[in-house]
């Protein structure tokens, strides 16, 4: 596959190293000459090429051969640059698959809503693996195979949540959605309609993929 990578810092460097081993054709773009030379010296050759320039400029992306790219990955240390790069790649040049790294985990949702296909935050990954022993990604992979639309998610009840202080039977969950379990003060509670949601409850919820985002943001007390 032809892949463009923007950002030749540590993440970019090891990404080039990993992907070239899988015989992908890589073009790395970085605005810092020293970082370009480091990648060029280490990996330059048939599989890896380097362009020195601004990965958020349409001209630079054109020079780097973006019209031939099948995937585009932005991993600079600046969230705003990664967003603009991916948007140019996707909306302006029509690259099918865009992937961005974000430093601020809150930008995951922002990037997804602004059209980036996949968003990766190492901060969120690490925080997530500390937060919960269960890896929902694995559960969801399994669910995808068995039932395409059903997903499991978990969310913490916020004091601002419209559900806070209400019984499950009162909050009007969409059809087919159930609260599987509530983790409260380190104990797992199997709820019924009479169970009242209180702030700091960790709610594990199963339901239709399309209904989950709204319910999850209600639980978290976020305004969409």
């Amino acid at each position: 596959m032809r892949i463009i990578i923007v950002g030749g810092g540590n993440v970019g460097y090891y990404l080039v190293k990993t992907l070239m081993a899988e015989k992908h054709r890589i073009m790395l773009i970085d605005s810092n000459r020293a970082r370009c030379e480091r990648v060029e010296t280490a990996f330059g050759g048939a599989y890896v090429e380097v362009t020195h320039g601004d990965g958020t400029s349409a001209d630079c992306l054109r020079d780097a051969g973006i019209y031939h790219a099948e995937a585009f990955i932005a991993v600079t240390g600046q969230d705003q640059n990664n967003l603009v790069s991916c948007q140019l790649a996707k909306d302006y040049f029509g690259v099918k698959r865009t992937i961005a790294r974000v430093k601020n985990p809150k930008n995951i949702r922002v990037f997804e809503q602004l059209g980036v296909d996949s968003v990766i935050s190492s901060t969120a990954r690490i925080a997530g693996s500390i937060d919960s022993e269960l890896d929902w990604a694995d559960v969801n992979t399994l669910l995808t195979r068995k039932a395409t639309h059903v997903r499991v998610r978990e969310a913490l009840v916020d004091t601002d949540s419209p559900y806070s202080g209400k019984r499950l039977s009162e909050i009007g969950l969409p059809k087919g959605m159930i609260v599987v379990c509530i983790v409260r003060d380190g104990e797992a509670v199997i709820p019924d309609g009479e169970t009242v949601l209180t702030p700091d409850d960790n709610v594990v919820i199963l339901g239709n993929e399309s209904d989950l985002p709204l319910v999850i943001s209600n639980i978290r007390g976020e305004t969409l």
Binding site: A58, L83, L88
Partner: protein
């Protein structure tokens, strides 16, 4: 109108002055608190210290009830991201983005953003002035 200005540089500070004199409620955001010194004393506005691409910072500036946002930091990409958070995630009705790079500016317009390109405005104005000089 309730207006958020992202970036308190020369343009940001002068924009704050004009808009507050015109009677608008103005909030200005900048990551560097020292930049607020550029605001004239007696300027009637609120200040928020922080990066404007951070949703939490935008929320504390009142983005949920803002009528307009002007993204005028010195970084084109910060402006682009801030503007899109405002228009697409918070549905702020009027959003203006400053973009120095003329090529990027064209792309942004095609993507539907309302932009101002100081570079091209300056070029056009100088061209016009030179043209006038020739005619005289």
């Amino acid at each position: 109108m309730y207006i958020i200005i992202a970036g308190c540089g020369k343009i940001g500070a002068n924009l704050v002055k004009k808009l507050s004199v015109d009677g608008h409620d103005v909030v200005v955001i900048d990551p560097n608190e020292e930049n607020f010194a550029q605001l004239e004393s007696g300027t009637n506005c609120l200040t928020v210290t922080g990066m404007p691409i951070d949703e939490d910072v935008l929320k504390s500036a009142g983005i949920e009830r803002a009528d307009a946002l002007c993204a005028v930091t010195s970084d084109d990409n910060v402006n682009i991201m801030t503007a899109q958070i405002a228009s697409q995630l918070y549905h702020v009705p009027h959003v203006v983005t400053r973009c120095y790079d003329p090529d990027k500016n064209e792309v942004l317009r095609q993507m539907g953003l309302c932009t101002v390109c100081p570079t091209m405005l300056t070029v056009a104005e100088i061209g016009r002035l030179l043209g006038e000089t020739e005619e005289e």
